[in-house]
Amino acid sequence: MSPLEALALLALLFTGVLVVTLKNAIHAALALIGNFLILAGIYVALEARFLGFIQIIAYAGAIVVLFLFVIMLLYAAQGEVGFDPLARSRPLALLLSLGVALVLLSGLWGLNLAFTQDLKGGLPQALGPLLYGDWLGVLLAVGFLLMVATVVAVALVQPTRPLDALSPEERKEEKEVVR
């Protein structure tokens, strides 16, 4: 492991710990951005350039903007998330995270990391045929899952009756609830 790799690993771990431990939700989200940016840098260094940029655009950009939007709407005035609902459960959390780490590591065990295809620096011209050729079924399955999740989320926030079916007073109340 070269010194730069070690540095990247330490920075990843440090920002990851910050995300969990910082009391202020906005600061935690910023640490998350830092984490994603470092991860993107690692992807680019590993010649997965397309993945690196997508990591920045989709995760560090769009998704964290959504996070921050929600945090600012909910805790606009103070930003402190406040009480810790699981104060006594730190040992349990430690145990669980160690278990997850073990499961992930055991997945790596015996994995044959020999590249059979030349990905040409991870450019989309080389990734595209692979993603939409060999792995098309998996891609469609994942896309379908995401779509189902979106539809469910939209269905959950729908008002019980359509707005134009309500009487004027009810509509007023419903609008306030929606807002």
């Binding site: 906005i26 940029f53 655009i57 769009a62 939007f69 040409k120």
Partner: protein, 371 residues
Amino acid sequence: MNPYPVDPYWMVALKALLVVVGLLIAFAFMTLIERRLLARFQVRMGPNRVGPSGLLQPVADAIKSIFKEDLVVERADKVLFVLAPLIGVVFALLAFGVIPFGPPGSFFGYQPWVLNLDLGLLYLFAVSEMAIYGIFLAGWASGSKYSLLGSLRSSASLISYELGLGIALLSPVLLVGSLNLNDIVNWQKENGWLVLYAFPAFLLYAIAALAEAARTPFDLPEAEQELVGGYHTEYSSIKWALFQMTEYIHFITASALIPTLFLGGWTMPFLEVPYLWMFLKIAFFLFLFIWIRATWFRLRYDQLLRLGWGFLFPVALVWFLVTALVVALDLPRSYLLYLSLAAFLVLLGAILYSPKSARKAPKGLSKGGGA
């Protein structure tokens, strides 16, 4: 993979410095040019006292903003309050380096761009998305309601236009088959400008670029009639100037990107001079955007959201599918020329038709104004 010549590192650093200095000078004089032009649109004089016909006004402004008292508000988040304008400026400056200004070797024997990335377009996206955090954090860190409203607006508008912007750019990328800005310009040199092949995409990108630079029809984050100063309400002196700088650099970058992607970049069918046409095209779009600011009204918040999701996104998607169909079935690309022309005629029709329908039903205004 990357056939373009590469410069030594010292030259890249020098060019990066040149871009930064150039953008800062351009920013200073754009403030003057914009104020003089707006004054002309509004039949008044504008700043004309400092130096010959007001030419030294930017210098006076710079001195004033540096030496004013630098306030940090009591309820501000101190670290983020200082960090936010810096994030904004840094990510705004980063974007300009990938834009080519001429053929290889035309910068005193070196290359007329700072970076030549295979994924240039994705890089631009990544950088411009990160730049939003400057505005976003500034609004929150100020600890003031007006600022927070400004930053909430900026994030909501980002989510609404970014998708349309991204998908609008996919159709030229499909035609060219590369994300490299040099490849895109060279393709246009051989096959004709992309605006002819993808007129709807050009239109959508121009609209979304206005939103991205937070220029007038979409300058909701700092709507001064509603939000005092928006996200920079609590900022003063040099930090406020940094926000102005960010905004103008976005503005200049947007006006450089539109010609690069759709209008042939530095190329021209006749009289090919490397830098001249690029600068002329940038100047044209800068003027156009100032003109829009002087003439157009600001959209309401919900109108921007409806425009983003209801107009930009579906039209971009339909045009992307049409382009994908032509590319996938390997049809002659000239089909796209006719379809673009048809789209242009539809736009003309919509512009000529909408004033009458808008008077009868004022609610339809947002759609008519968008088209």
